[in-house]
Symmetry: C2
DNA sequence: CTGGATTCCGTGAACGTTCACGAAGATGCT
DNA sequence: AGCATCTTCGTGAACGTTCACGGAATCCAG
């Protein structure tokens, strides 16, 4: 209405500016903004009007400082482009939101960043962290100090809570199923991590030797669980690796793959090479990402209930924050068991 | 070392506690924590030691209050389980991170929440919002006041910046390609939004009538662009819808689908019904999500460069925050053009 | 008109940190 | 020794909000 002398995008308006503009005091502005009782309707309207004209928004810092309890949790994710992680992240966001927490997410998949970088960025900004921190769990926990850290898919660390997966059980389920289907040349396709085999691959090897041991090496000429390593965790790379595998071991009749994304690539590579899945060769993925059933053939997989994983992570974190759960105790270290979901590819 | 009298998880340690424990002043603790110059190495070590023992972490609120400039942006996402959004979110996170911003994400896909709910939750917590707010753009902008809002996939609103997609161009590309391949019975499978057809479907209809108009209605007996609406945006629902479509219009020889996720379902439904894609019927998706090329047949799609979308959103936001871009101006309203990516399904 | 509720509003204090400045001690040079 | 310089550290102030409290105005019954 009046000529607008207000045109400084420099300094954002404070509560005092609004108070002055509306001809009231700080506290009244607070009351109006937060719809507290004990304020006349007309005054409230006047204050809100002034606030809107000044473009006033309460400082989250000042507010947080005085109220004290806004929980915000960091979510450290290796690669949002792998469908596994969004499914998990979605669950974490849902349950965290239900508890009134805010979720600050950092995807360290690009630009050569590591889990440690993500935690370093997140740490000063959040009250807790949930994340796939891998081998950086120790360092991350140290960086967080007393503030809780929930590490996923990691060997149990004393410094932080953990959600782990029972890969041994998973491998056993897959191998028994495949052998029951008559498969005898089973190969595991791993993704190369920072060093050595993944825990998933190791579990596969363990179970393989157990099984073959029971049968008796004399009876069986089956090779012990063979493991092939792809240089990177991606569908295209996996497709290539599968084709190379066929060259070096043409008699392979089953491939268990590090994760579903790679398994999708394997499927693609195999059919491109003229093989029929599952007639000629079986493929078993791992993770249970939603896209698995959209593939042709639909992917048989060792499914993790990703929503449960997210829910559990949030639950453990809540316990830690409330002090109901001790870091040493059993409750701080959960184990989730993947289950074999048989579809078409095996 | 000493018996630990410190065991109150109630009140977190403040800078003064650390100062007292280390026998120095506030400022020195600040210097140590932030590795500022002008502090003796030995003192710094002592302070850090004390801080660690007390589990001290600087309050982000106090820090933010005094330094003033921590940018954090909210990311409002309808459904992280649709692979479209993670691909986009990943890009936003990457570029925001590169600028030193924090990203607070809210997925309002669960629990019947709406974009407005998400913005309400986010608003007091962030300096700006990027999101698929749909028809709530107006309300959301009002809630944000002066703080910038970048709305995606929305008609241009005066109240906020926008990133839009040129669906008209996309539809034209698809339709011309399909017609050039000899397809004449083209149907669009839409997802039902809050009301009426989606912008994508409308663009399809427009182009269809343009094309048929040019040819001349006398010459052609082709039906005008027919649109079928699926009740929900999901692969399973789309598969079902595709099968129903075949019943009502068995002569359909091409389906253009609302998005890739649904197109994946359509592929599945079609092959389940015994049809061969693309021999019997062509399928064109939209979005260009990574999983498209993993499907069998690989999905032909109107690809959006999702990383570019994210980059652009962050870029526009940066301009708004810096004051380089005015809301009215051309720069605040970008249009991104999908391109036809021909793979196997059409 | 008086008294007590009731409604509405304003003032000091506090939250925990950093910035600007200055003081004290150590060191070097003449 | 005397002075200047550098290093190291401490003190008041400020950031913007809410909480706890108290004061002023209004209302109604007696």
């Amino acid at each position: 209405m009046s000529p607008q002398p207000e045109r400084q995008p420099r300094k954002p308006a404070t509560i005092l500016d609004v108070a002055a503009a509306a001809g009231v005091s700080r506290q009244t502005v607070t009351r109006a903004m937060n719809a507290m009782p004990g304020i006349k309707a007309s005054t409230m309207e006047r204050v809100l009007q002034a606030a809107h004209e000044l473009g006033y928004a309460p400082s989250r810092f000042a507010r947080g400082l005085v109220q004290g309890s806004e929980v915000s949790v960091g979510l450290a994710i290796p690669d949002l482009e792998n469908p596994y992680f969004p499914a998990f992240a979605s669950s974490v966001v849902e349950h965290a939101t239900a508890r009134g927490w805010h979720v600050v997410v950092d995807d360290f998949g690009h630009g050569g960043r590591t889990a440690m970088d993500a935690v370093e960025r997140l740490a000063p900004q959040v009250d807790a962290i949930i994340g796939y921190v891998g081998e950086d769990a120790d360092g991350a926990a140290h960086l967080m100090g007393r503030r809780p850290l929930v590490a996923l898919d990691n060997a149990v660390q004393p410094a932080c809570a953990s959600i782990d997966f029972d890969y041994h059980h998973a491998a056993a389920e897959a191998i028994h199923y495949l052998r029951a289907s008559g498969r005898r040349r089973i190969v595991y396709l791993d993704a190369s991590g920072r060093g050595g085999l993944s825990n998933r691959a190791k579990a596969f090897q363990d179970v393989m030797s157990e099984v073959l041991g029971k049968i008796g090496s004399s009876v069986s000429r089956e090779p012990t669980g063979h493991v092939v390593v792809a240089p990177r965790d991606s569908a295209a790379v996996a497709a290539h690796a599968a084709q190379e595998l066929l060259l070096s071991r043409p008699d392979t009749d089953a491939i268990v793959v590090f994760n579903d994304l790679m398994a999708a690539g394997v499927l693609k590579g195999l059919t491109a090479a003229g093989l029929r899945v599952p007639a000629d060769i079986a493929v078993v993925g791992m993770d249970g990402i939603p896209l698995g059933e959209l593939l042709t053939p639909a992917l048989t997989t060792l499914a993790l209930d990703l929503r449960e994983v997210g829910r559990t992570a949030v639950e453990v974190l809540a316990g830690l924050l409330a002090g109901d759960i001790e870091l040493g105790g059993r409750a701080a270290h959960r184990i989730i068991r993947p289950t074999l979901r048989v579809r078409e590819s095996a």
